[in-house]
Amino acid sequence: MRSERWTYKLPLRIRSIFHRQTADQELDEELRDHLELKTQQYTSEGMTPQEARRAAVLEMGGIENRKEECRDARGIHFLETFAQDIRYGFRMLRKSPAFAAIAIVTLALGIGANTAIFSYVNAWLIKPLPFPQADRLIVLLSHDSKKGWTSNGVTSTADFFDYEKQNSSFEQLVPWTSWYFNLTGDGPPDRVLGGLVGWNFFQTLGAQPLLGRTFLPQESQLAASHVAIISRGLWESRFAADPRIVGRAVTVQGETYTIVGVMPANFQFSLMGTSNMWAPLAMDDKARHDRSTSWFEAFGRLKPGVTQQQAGADLAAIASRLEKLYPQTNTNETTLVSTMLFEIGKNEGTQQVIICFWLVGLVLLIACANVANLMLARASSRAKEFAVRGALGAGRLRLVRQLLTESLLLFTFGGAAGALFGIWGVHWIENAVPDRIRGYIVNYGRGTLDVKTFAFTFGIAILCGVIFGLAPAFGSSGFGANRSLKETAGQISGSRVTRRLRNLFVAGEISLAVVVLVCTVLLVQDFAHMVYGDIGFQSRNLMVTELVLPPAKYQTDAQIRGFYDQVLTGIGALPQVESADASEFTPFSDSNQVRLIHVVGRPPAGPGEALGAEYSAITPGYFHTMQMVLLRGRALEPTDGPDSRKVVVINETLLRQQFPKEDPLGQQLEVGDNHDICTIVGVVRDTKLFNLTDRPMRQIYVPAAQFPSAQMSIVTRSSRPSTEAASVIRTAVWSVDADQPVSAVRTMDDLITERNTPNRILAQLLTFFGLLALLLGAIGIYGVTAQSVQQRVHEIGIRMALGASSYDVTRMILAQGLKLALTGIACGLLAAAAVTRGMAAILSTVKSSDPITYIVVAAFFALVALAACYIPARRGSRVDPIVALRCE
């Protein structure tokens, strides 16, 4: 029955939408026909044709009205009027291009900033890793239940194999560790970053090779482990994209490896950082049974249907069994699980992205408030138009709908422009990321501009369009035809509701802007303190290059020492070089080592209470070359040779933490797993190691002569920054050993800049958001003041006619604007005080309640507001009373 009715209704609907003209014509014809017949009838009854016609029309009661009613009956009113509203909206925007431009640009900035930041939220927090069923990828973390310490890496090698055998939750567990490969033969020696990985690494991730194959199970046996997989980048740069690369032999660490596969360009395992080469992680039986040390990390893929919690409980049960079996090594040790996505997000400034996301949200609110204000201002100057339309029969709902359509139109344009601005923003951020750190960042530092991102963009545009579009609709609730029509043009004062709403918007907008400004000023200040603060050494004119000697060639400590002595002597003799020294690990490089330490004579550390310190073996002149400040005792000397008493230099953080009241000099430290006993001979200043934003950490330095290492970085202080120094340094190394790979010679300043880039990008973004908030706030207060002056021209005229000076008028208008601004600023400061408390954790050098920041922001904002009000105030003071009064 219903469906049958629709067979009649549907064609009519279709006709009225798509054949509106035919329908109108037929309606016309039908009514005309009726009139003619009626006229005929009346004529035949004896009326004159004119009378008959008139009577017929009268009986119909207004042809046009009837037609409108018939059209209404067609019931597609909504679509039709919507189209009409849009056409009208377009016309209105075209007619006031300045308003449209300001509103759209404001919205584009607000929405664009949100789009750009959201694309990172999307890439880092929402979009799963580029692996199939990435939610099943779980990272293992070792946890010390007594100290509450959690760290990457398995508890020990033997533990890992126990977990692998005994667990029932994982399809696979995969060990992996970052690794350097010295590539020689085919061209200059090269140091390639990569990893040693379990044979099932690629398989478990679900990554397919571009060429060749991934590893086989038997390749994790030491004997068969001389195979390698390389990245597409390395394949192209070093092997000229050789199509027969698979099966080709390369020399790695002086031994022959066979390349078995090439991974595609988009393959990325962010936890490992930039990696271009992978070889199987293989070990002998002795290493497999080591239960005291750990040197690799692990992740796994959950069996389908197993939850993270179940897997965690499973591993915890195994851990407590191991704890009972091996109390010596496993007391308090357990293993926690975390999703890979979360672990990657943790590394890469997720917190900063979330802060940015909040801030841009606030900026968007400010932008919307601004646009709503503009629309309110327009609505009140259009009061007359609306009154006329109301008088002509437009219903209140119809007028509200039209205002809403206009607002939506504006916000949609703003959204489209914002999307473009957002894409540009993402490219800007992307290009600002240096290649060296790109590998650590999810999705190589690219934002994700996908459907989700743009759905978000237009979602917020339309949501804001509706919410803020309703404001003028309520603001102009009057629509009172009588009042508005009586008022003369130029005299229309916005209704009281409108004025209140506008003031509310501006005050709210200023409050939000103050919150944004306080947050950004705190963060940027913190950043600046760290960047321009003390890094503990002089980075200017310092150059770094890393060397790893192949163990096959340099087997004894004496050989290693001999090589480095020769190289340092060679480089030190170069005319460009002031001094050259070596250190196992240097600040801002890609590697470091933490060794356990213990102060001899103190009670042994309880299980899991051991102290760790950043460790490095250095040559005697290292502190001098780095220009590090010695606080106490002496630096390491050439006399601290392999046969003399072992010595160590500690940093001030270690001094502060472990020897707050005693003299450390002469005390002894037990260092590392070999339990070397070293006498403390000096104390140096802290240096930053990884980032300018590092918190202080314990550091120790030992003489390289006593703790030889095949891996050393040469630090060279030259008299001037020079690129030619880089090449002579490499030549100097090769003159000692022509086969020795040398990493690129980098200046320390470059390394620091690269490491610091994410923070710098963040600081630049924050500065931009802060300024944007300030600008929008200023525009808001300017707009309201200007509008109020325009509306009060008449009143000002009267005041001046009665003797008010232009100074009085200026003061009156300024006072009014300032009152609004100060209210906003006060509310903003209170809100900022509450909001910034949540930021305390990420501020390391500034207190979140730093009073100076608050005072400066408030004062600055007040000044800006004053300037913004001054322009309209001045215009107001120039009102000519005669002109103003004549308007009437």
Binding site: R5, K9, E26, E29, D33, H34, E59, G61, E69, A73
Partner: protein, 111 residues
């Protein structure tokens, strides 16, 4: 005599459906028939006739067709659809009950 009271809401639809149930007619003929069947008691202005017809058409109760009349004019003829006929029966029943109830109330003896 005072003006006849306005048609009770919805009754015009009922009248139109009933008239069209007898035979398909064009707008002008419907207006004549209305006057004819109800005498002058129910005055339906030509003005309200057409919107009502168009509404019924949109509702699917009646359908329209352009036909040539006996004196060679093109005119829009309305006829009742099958769903329209069912609707009419239902509405007529409702009307009967309503009218009975109202007349019952109106004829109550005042005490």
């Amino acid at each position: 005599m005072s003006k006849p009271s306005d048609l009770v809401q919805g009754t015009l639809d009922l009248l139109l459906l009933k008239i069209l149930a007898l035979q398909p007619l064009n707008g002008f003929a419907i207006s004549l028939r209305l006057k004819q069947v109800s005498g002058d008691v129910l005055q339906v202005s030509d003005g309200s006739l057409y919107p009502a017809l168009h509404k019924l058409e949109q509702e699917g109760w009646i359908s329209a067709e352009w036909k040539t009349t006996e004196n060679n004019r093109r005119a829009k003829f309305y006829s009742l659809t099958r769903p329209g006929r069912k609707h009419l029966e239902k509405e007529a029943d409702n009307w009967g009950r309503l009218a009975a109830a109202i007349s019952h109330v109106v004829q109550l003896k005042e005490t």
